[in-house]
Amino acid sequence: MTDIATAAPLLDVRGLEKRFGGLVATDRVDLRVDAGEIHALIGPNGAGKTTLVAQLGGQLASDRGTIVFAGADITAWPTHRRARHGLVRSFQITRLFRSASVIDNVALAVQAVTGSSIDAWRPARRDTALFERARALLDTLGLGAKAAHSIDQLSHGERRALEVGMTFASRPRLMLLDEPMAGMGREESARMEALIGVVRKESAVLLIEHDVDAVFRLADRVSVLVGGRVVASGTPAAVRSDPAVIAAYLGDDAGAA
């Protein structure tokens, strides 16, 4: 990873801001993610990670700044258009379609970015390509045997895997993974880490994570967010020894990491 990239970055965020009344949640954030990399975003509680992800995903409008993604200025785009352009996010709190089976959840994720859904007459089950893709993805997630299960029958770890899998289902250019390992045990975390290792072969990843150990193992680059600002950005090794990070992040709120 060189600092001077020759190709345009996949995601190029400049001067992004978000205020809630007097509170500056996102403060002139610059962030770049290159194609093929895992870029981790870490920071203590209240650093503004969730707000920033929502701005990138389109759930929150930005007050200032630009988001350029895959050659398009998507700052003002609605969420669904960003997703169709290849920027898909997962959620920290699992959001699945509860009245649909496991495979239907994945099939819906594939359907969302493939063609129009304004067909109210022909049964979607006849779309074999859709379900083949969904089935292949379930095998990747290790959920192949549970295709017909309902969401309620899955364990927490399986639901988190499905959450990430649905984000990946459309083969996006960039996945925003919002704390995929939240609330996981050691074993489940390891499985999630392996899963991220698999999906990264097809998508770049912006990984928002609390588990700093996993971050330093997985990420190509790490950015540190403190008080809504990016205080450091670079390779894991460089960030780990950055005095600003140690002071602001570990010093300020060491317990949160």
Partner: protein
Amino acid sequence: MAPGPAKPLGLRGGLLPLCAIAAAIALPFVLRAFGLDFYLSLASRIVVYAIAATSLNLVLGHAGLVSFGHAAFFGLGAYVTAIMISEGVQSGPLHLVATIAVTALAAFVIGAISLRTRGVYFIMITLAFAQMLFYLANSVKGYGGDEGLNIRARSLFSLGAYLLDLKNPLALYYVALAVLALALLALARFAPSRFGRAVLALRDDDVRAEALGFPTYRYKLVVFVVAGALGGIAGALSVNLQGYVSPNALHWTQSGTLMVMVILGGVATVWGGLAGAAALLLLQEVLASTTEHHEFWTGWVLLAVVLFARQGIVGLWTRRRASALP
């Protein structure tokens, strides 16, 4: 349920739909044979309300949008047709076109605004729009004002040499029945279609659906407009049935009645609107002839359904599957 080759629709529900259609077609003859012609108008009323409740079920059940203003479209459809007839326009096709155009436009405007809100705000804003129309109808003295509008003639459809006059109770019944059958067929096809699945997704979690790439706002608006137009058609049929429309057709209690029908019959089912309309109207008919306080007893029945049969009447004989998607 494992995915695989789709089963042809209609067979899934067994022979029930076919039996229901046959019974509905035969009903007028059966009534006549037993000298119960009087009940044909009740049957027509059930069919008309079934159409309205089915259209609300699309919004309320399938899309999960708790619209408390569906009477706006029912009443608007009734008024459009009544006004056209009172102005001397008797052409049924024109009534149909105008009803669909006006109610779809109204649903587009109301939906475009109210679908930007959610939860309680959505309930209140749809209610507010319907009440605005209610007060508007009250104040337009030229078309009856608060006394309502009586019409002498009815919609006329010319089928070649044959003239279909909805003044004929039998003609009205069969026309309404045909509309209901088409609506139910379309709804049965909708649920497992790509669009139906997308709508189910946004009902379950619209934030997630949007994040995956579904333009949820647009899809909700499509559903809202289609349901509004179908509700309008039900209103147009209702004015043909009763020969009368009053602002009460737009009142929030009318919206409430339609909601009760949907909940009673089965939210997000194909047959819920019909089952609910039939149950509520029959219940009222029976209770009204035996007690003065029929609304009191209707309340108890509704309470029992909400407590013990969450899936409504339809849910009593269709077992809940792991996935709502067939």
